[in-house]
Each structure stands twice: as structure tokens, then as C-alpha cells.
């Protein structure tokens, strides 16, 4: 076991810090979900909740560690890295597995464990009586475990292992109801779109690691700060490729197309995928490799900001027309991921990650609330809902809290994190993007108001009698509503909570100072701009959708003639992707066919022909004529000899006797002559 404490306790202070018990054993968090995975497969079917117990237990264990680390991080700081060497390429590139304990990792451990535990508990209630529940929990554990492996990774190799594990588990879970071809297609789409982006990640990791001479993030950060000439030569290419990987996982434009379709999986999967695992992986990667972009590959930062800005605004608009409640939330996630990406790319390390932190709580809550609603009305479509606040008061209250938090209403969590992103953009001088982000906040408030109005207000349009979900489902909703409302106070600019500081400091527990901007106080002018945008969105949304929510779905007032079909067709992005695939696969297939027929087959045939000719020569020339010739010749000779000699065998005794006597006489004569 190689244990090294290389990270700093306080920003700006580089030094060795003891990890302590919790940090030294943090690897348990990376293992328990996989143990749960095996236990569920082996024993799940015999258990009362069909394996859900193991999944919940593993997350509960993880939450103990994550909470302990979180508290330790608040009070003392201290970060460490534990690695086990596994192998290496020659003497240069070493491959290690292990875990990292620093502000960023601890935040992610806590998010995955906390949201994961609540979602798993929720899933036990939600999936009760569903098909393949055991397998669902097994894949779900694999999902959470892969994410923990990813966020705990001290190097790019382990990150890629976790990254692909997350991709695999998401594929399994999205296609959980594989009896429907549509769900299978959604799973394939998610997997394939991610695979395209993963090529970037793998290539980028190799390029960067070759330049640094190590896969480790610490080494990468140090080389970035030291302006290492080898690394700076490849920084733009490597950084761009890593960013491509992050775009795929974090559903940035134009790779966002897989995320709305990923709704095909069971709702708890969506909740975990959108809140804590999977989509946050790309943002996490950008934060982990932040020094690379900050110090060496700064040329590509404007492009990253542009991608983030397009994602946050343009994709957010799509949520205005979706009828599927989960799809509204999915587009909202894409939009919020755009905020995070923009913030991180603009240099707002803390701002982007704080938004990730708050977003995990309220988006997890929104999805669980949507699941609760869907469980009650047996439909995903808002046209089958309406008026549910009377039937489902707890779901309604928590859903509204989360919506207001997402819209960015003071003093809920989303306000503080979104305000910090606006402050970062303002400070860095990206004013166009700043106004796009404000417009995005307006759109966010508008579509969340629409979703709440169509789902919970007006009169019920569906069939049957909806009723409130059981406690195992509403419990997690309430447990998530509290942080959704309150975690924003952890990072009020310029305010330090006595004894534990604030989120910025906790996150700052890392190798070297990142040099991002931290506002000294609340920038009220920006906050008011943000609040006006959000408030305007809510007021307009209420005016448009709440008054006559019954008929609203029938005649959506946002049916602007030209824009509406554009939104409904999702900017034709799916059609474009399919069109590209359709247009290229024919010529591509023909090209491959031609190559196959004439080049590969040619080589194969030539090789085969040579082999055949050689074989014929060996068979006909050497074997048949040479070897067989010798043997046949010998046997013909022996045959001839035998045929000749047998004529001596006359059967006449006296002839034999004559031969004996003649022989004896010859012997006698010879002996006499020799004497």
C-alpha cells in the first residue's frame, strides 16, 4: 500500500496532511456497491425486497463515510491520496488504483451517497411489484458504484474505468423495460452517443498522460501549474479531446440528444442519473483537469463557454413544449449542465461545482416527485395530469420547493448557486454569455411554472383516482426538500459560518490554488437582475398556463407558428443525427464493402492462393511423387522380387533336396579350396 499525502489543507498552502482514519479507509465507499451488486445477483431473489436491501445498505454505509469525511473536511480540512500500484507500461507510465480524498472528491462522495441512499429507498417503494426488480437493483448498484469509482479516481485510468462502468450501467437501466423497442432504442442511443464522445476522452487521456509521464491528476495539475513545455505543446489537442468526452457524458450541445430519451428507464434511474451520477461526470472531469484549461489550454475556453451557453439557453427552450413531465425535467437538466459547463470554462470553479451541488438536491427531488406523480396517474404526460395538489399534498409541496429552487428564487439553494455563476461571468467579462444566462434563468422559471401549473393545478384530466404515494417514496422527497431549500446558505458570498467556514473553502481543499474568483459579498445588482428574470418567468408562466390549465394542453399558447414545430422536433437534432447516419451509412457501408471485397479479400485470397499453391506443390510434387514414389518404387521392387522368387517354390520335394545337396557340395568344395 502506497500512501501519500500530497495535497494541501488550505488554499495556497501546499503541504503534507495526515489523512486520518476516514480518509485512509475511504476506499470502502468504492467497493461496497460492487459487493452489493454481487450479493443482489447471488441472493436477491430470496430477499423480501428482492435485493433492494443490499443496495440501500451499501449506500447507507457509504453515507456514513461520506458524512464523516464531509464533516472532517469542514472542520479540519486535509486531503490525501491512497494508491495501489497495479502495473505499468515499461518503466514510465504507472497504472494505479486507489482513491482521492480532497474537497472535490468528498463533495461528490457525499452527493452520490446522500442522493443515492434516498433514491434507493425510494426505488424500493417505486419498483415494488415491477418486473426484474432484482436485476434492476443490481444494475443500480453498479451505476452508483461506477460513479464512486469515477469520482474517487486518483488518475485518468481509473476515471475511465468508472466512466465506462457508468455508461454500461446506464445502458442496462435505460433499457430496463426492453420489451418495448422504443426503450431499447433509447438505451442504444445513450450508449452510442456516449461512445462517440468517449473516443475523445480516451485519446485525450492518452495524449495528456504521455506528455505528463503519469496518469495521476496531481501530477497533471502540477505540470499545468509549472507550465510544463511538453504538456503545453499538446494541451490544446488533449484538452479539446477531454472536453469532447465531457460533452458526451454531460449532455452538452450537440451531444445532448441522448439525455431526453434516457427517460425510458424507471424514474429512480432518471433521478440518480440527472442528480448525482452520470451527467455530472463531465463537469467533474472538467473540474479535475481545471488547471490544464486555466493555465495551458486557455485558447479553447471560449469554445467551451460557447457550447455551455448554447446548451443552457437553446436546449432550455425545448422544455417549454414537451408534454412528457420527465422530458421537461430532462431538458432542464441539460440546460443546468450548460450553466455548470459555462461557469467552469469561464474560470468559476467553485461557482460551477456549487451549482452541481445544489442542482443534485433539487433535480433529484423533482425527478422523484415526477416519479411519485407518474406512479399515481400511470402516465408520463402532463395532459393526463392536472389538479394533483389536492390528491398529493406532500408531493406537491416538495415539488414546488424544488421548482422555485431551480428557478432561482431567494433564499432557496438554486438562487445562490446561479447567482454565483452570474457573478463569475460578470467578473470575467463575458457579458454576452451573462445575458444569455439571465435569459436562461427566465426560461427556466417559465417552464417550471408551466410544469407545476399543468401537473398540479386546474382539474384532473387523467383516469382513475390518484392518491398520495407511500412513505418510502414521500420520505425521500421530504429528505431532499430540506437541502434543496437550505444548502444555498453554505456558500453565501463573503459569509463564513463560524467554526466551519463555507463551501468555497471546503472545495478549496485541493492540491494547488485554482485562482478562481470569489466575490467578497453579495452582488445585489446581479442578484436583482437574476431575480427579476426568474420572477418574470414565473409571472408570465402563471399568466399563460395556470388560469385555464384544463384547456391549456389542448391549445398551448406558446404555439408560435414557426418556432413551435422547431421546438417539437427538437431543432431537428434527432433528425439530423439520423440523417447523418442514414446518409453516411450507405456510402460508408459500400466503401467498407469495397475495401473488404478488393483489399482485405484480395490479401486474404492472395495469402490463401499462396497457401493453396504451396499445398499443391507439397502434395503433388513432394508427397505424391517424392515420398510416395520412393515407397511405391520399393514396394514394386519387392513385389517383382517376390513374383520372381516364388517360382522357386515348386512344391517338388526332390528339387529342394537337389538344392540342399548342391548347396552342401558347394560348401564342401569351398571349404576344401579354402583349406
Amino acid at each position: 500500500m502506497v500512501s501519500s499525502y500530497v495535497l494541501a489543507a488550505e488554499e495556497g498552502v501546499a503541504g503534507l496532511v495526515e489523512g486520518g482514519f476516514w480518509a485512509d479507509t475511504a476506499g470502502i465507499m468504492l467497493i461496497t456497491p460492487f459487493i452489493a451488486f454481487l450479493a443482489i445477483i447471488a441472493l436477491g431473489k430470496r430477499m423480501k425486497y428482492e435485493g433492494g436491501e443490499f443496495a440501500v445498505a451499501s449506500m447507507a454505509v457509504n453515507l456514513v463515510w461520506a458524512t464523516a469525511l464531509f464533516i472532517q473536511n469542514m472542520t479540519e480540512g486535509g486531503s490525501s491520496e491512497v494508491t495501489f500500484p497495479i502495473g505499468g507500461i515499461g518503466s514510465g507510465l504507472q497504472f494505479e488504483l486507489g482513491w482521492m480524498v480532497d474537497g472535490l472528491s468528498i463533495m461528490m462522495y457525499f452527493l452520490v451517497s446522500f442522493v443515492g441512499l434516498l433514491v434507493f429507498i425510494y426505488a424500493v417503494g417505486y419498483m415494488h411489484g415491477d418486473i426484474r426488480v432484482t436485476w434492476f437493483f443490481a444494475a443500480f448498484s453498479l451505476f452508483a458504484g461506477s460513479m464512486l469509482l469515477l469520482v474517487g479516481a486518483p488518475n485518468l485510468v481509473q476515471l475511465i474505468i468508472g466512466w465506462e462502468g457508468v455508461g454500461l450501467a446506464s445502458y442496462l437501466l435505460i433499457g430496463h423495460y426492453w420489451e418495448d423497442q422504443e426503450n431499447v432504442n433509447a438505451g442504444n442511443k445513450a450508449f452510442l452517443v456516449n461512445k462517440v464522445a468517449d473516443v475523445g476522452l480516451v485519446l485525450g487521456a492518452i495524449i495528456v498522460a504521455m506528455a505528463v509521464g503519469d496518469f495521476g491528476f496531481v501530477e497533471l495539475s502540477e505540470a499545468s501549474f509549472a507550465q510544463d513545455p511538453t504538456l503545453s505543446a499538446v494541451a490544446v489537442v488533449g484538452g479539446l479531446l477531454l472536453f469532447l468526452g465531457a460533452m458526451g457524458k454531460s449532455a452538452q450541445f450537440p451531444f445532448h440528444i441522448w439525455l431526453p430519451d434516457a427517460m425510458a428507464g424507471p424514474t429512480p434511474v432518471s433521478a440518480l442519473m440527472h442528480a448525482a451520477t452520470m451527467v455530472t461526470a463531465g463537469i467533474y472531469l472538467m473540474a479535475r483537469t481545471f488547471p490544464l484549461y486555466q493555465n495551458l489550454a486557455s485558447e479553447i475556453r471560449p469554445w467551451m463557454i460557447a457550447v455551455g451557453a448554447i446548451t443552457l439557453f437553446v436546449i432550455g427552450l425545448l422544455a417549454l413544449v414537451a408534454d412528457d413531465l420527465k422530458q421537461v425535467l430532462a431538458y432542464s437538466t441539460v440546460s443546468q449542465l450548460g450553466y455548470m459547463m459555462t461557469a467552469v470554462a469561464a474560470g468559476g470553479y467553485t461557482a460551477g461545482l456549487f451549482h452541481l451541488f445544489t442542482h443534485a438536491f433539487f433535480k433529484g427531488l423533482l425527478f422523484l416527485g415526477a416519479g411519485s406523480v407518474i406512479h399515481a396517474v400511470h402516465s408520463n404526460n402532463m395532459s393526463d395530469m392536472g389538479g394533483l395538489r389536492k390528491y398529493m399534498p406532500r408531493t406537491y409541496t416538495t415539488f414546488v420547493i424544488a421548482s422555485l429552487s431551480l428557478a432561482g428564487i431567494i433564499p432557496l439553494a438554486g438562487f445562490w448557486s446561479k447567482d454565483e455563476i452570474l457573478a463569475t461571468l460578470d467578473h470575467e467579462g463575458y457579458m454576452v454569455v451573462f445575458w444569455i444566462a439571465v435569459a436562461g434563468a427566465f426560461v427556466t422559471a417559465l417552464y417550471m411554472t408551466r410544469a407545476v401549473a399543468l401537473t398540479f393545478h386546474g382539474t384532473y384530466r387523467g383516469e382513475g383516482h390518484p392518491h398520495e404515494s407511500p412513505l418510502s417514496m414521500t420520505g425521500p422527497l421530504i429528505a431532499l426538500a430540506v437541502p434543496s431549500a437550505l444548502v444555498g446558505f453554505l456558500n453565501v458570498p463573503g459569509v463564513e459560518i463560524p467554526g466551519i467556514g463555507n463551501f468555497t473553502e471546503w472545495l478549496a481543499v485541493r492540491v494547488i490554488p485554482m485562482g478562481d474568483n470569489h466575490p467578497e459579498g453579495i452582488a445585489w445588482n446581479l442578484a436583482i437582475i437574476g431575480l427579476i428574470a426568474a420572477g418574470a418567468g414565473i409571472v408570465l408562466g402563471w399568466a399563460l398556463f395556470a388560469r385555464d390549465a384544463e384547456t391549456q394542453v389542448a391549445r398551448d399558447r406558446l404555439e408560435v407558428p414557426r418556432l413551435y414545430p422547431l421546438f417539437r422536433r427538437k431543432y431537428y437534432m434527432d433528425d439530423l443525427a439520423l440523417g447523418i447516419v442514414d446518409a453516411t451509412r450507405g456510402p460508408l457501408a459500400r466503401m467498407i464493402d469495397w475495401t473488404n471485397t478488393y483489399v482485405i479479400d484480395g490479401v486474404v485470397n492472395a495469402t490463401g492462393g499462396m497457401g493453396l499453391a504451396l499445398g499443391r506443390f507439397v502434395y503433388g510434387g513432394l508427397d505424391q511423387r517424392g515420398v510416395d514414389g520412393v515407397f511405391n518404387g520399393l514396394s514394386v521392387l519387392i513385389d517383382g522380387l517376390g513374383s520372381g522368387m516364388r517360382r522357386l517354390q515348386t512344391g517338388r520335394v526332390q528339387q529342394y533336396a537337389t538344392a540342399f545337396v548342391s548347396g552342401a557340395l558347394v560348401l564342401v568344395i569351398v571349404l576344401m579350396v579354402l583349406r
Partner: protein, 109 residues
């Protein structure tokens, strides 16, 4: 060992007798057609050998009766052989109505 010239003289005469009997036997063996006579010729050759054995024994070996013992063996074996041979010839004659060795070429290739 010193040889008695007189007994050596006598030995030559016995050897000539033996050689003459052996030659007659060979002649009979090769020429006679009747199987019984061929068998008798064989007996003649065996007895020629017996004479040689006795002659050498009495001429060269003074006190051990090696030659006599050997010739008695030969006579015994010859008697058995004649017994077998005549039985075979009897069976052939019964089957083929002939004891002519020229016709007995069943064992040819």
C-alpha cells in the same frame, strides 16, 4: 594324442564305405519316384553317418563311447521318423491313390 596307424588304415576303409552308402542314399533321394524308396534312401544316408560315427569313435577316442551313444540316438530318431514318414505316405496314398513324389506338388506357390 598319438594315432594307431593300423586303425587309421581301417578307418579309411570305413569312411569309404560310409561315403559310398551316403552317395547311394543321395542318388536314391534325388532320383526315385516312389515315396517309400525316397524314405529308404534317407535311412541309408543316416546309416552311412552312423558308420562314420562308429568309425571315428573307435579310431580316435579310446575309452568314451561317444560315437556309439550318438549313433544309437540317430537310430532311435530314424526309427521314429520312419514311423511318421510311412504313416504320412500311407495317408497320401489312400487319398490320391499314388505315392509318386512328382505328383505331390500341393505345397507350391
Amino acid at each position: 594324442m598319438p594315432y594307431d596307424v593300423g586303425s587309421l588304415m581301417l578307418l579309411n576303409q570305413f569312411l569309404v564305405l560310409g561315403a559310398a552308402l551316403f552317395s547311394i542314399g543321395v542318388y536314391g533321394l534325388l532320383v526315385r519316384r516312389n515315396a517309400v524308396l525316397v524314405l529308404l534312401s534317407v535311412e541309408l544316408m543316416l546309416n552311412a553317418v552312423n558308420i562314420n560315427l562308429i568309425a571315428f569313435e573307435s579310431a580316435l577316442v579310446t575309452n568314451a563311447a561317444v560315437g556309439q551313444v550318438f549313433s544309437i540316438f540317430v537310430i532311435t530318431v530314424a526309427a521314429a521318423e520312419v514311423g511318421f514318414g510311412l504313416a504320412i505316405i500311407l495317408m497320401i496314398f489312400r487319398n490320391r491313390r499314388s505315392a509318386n513324389v512328382d505328383e505331390l506338388d500341393l505345397m507350391r506357390w
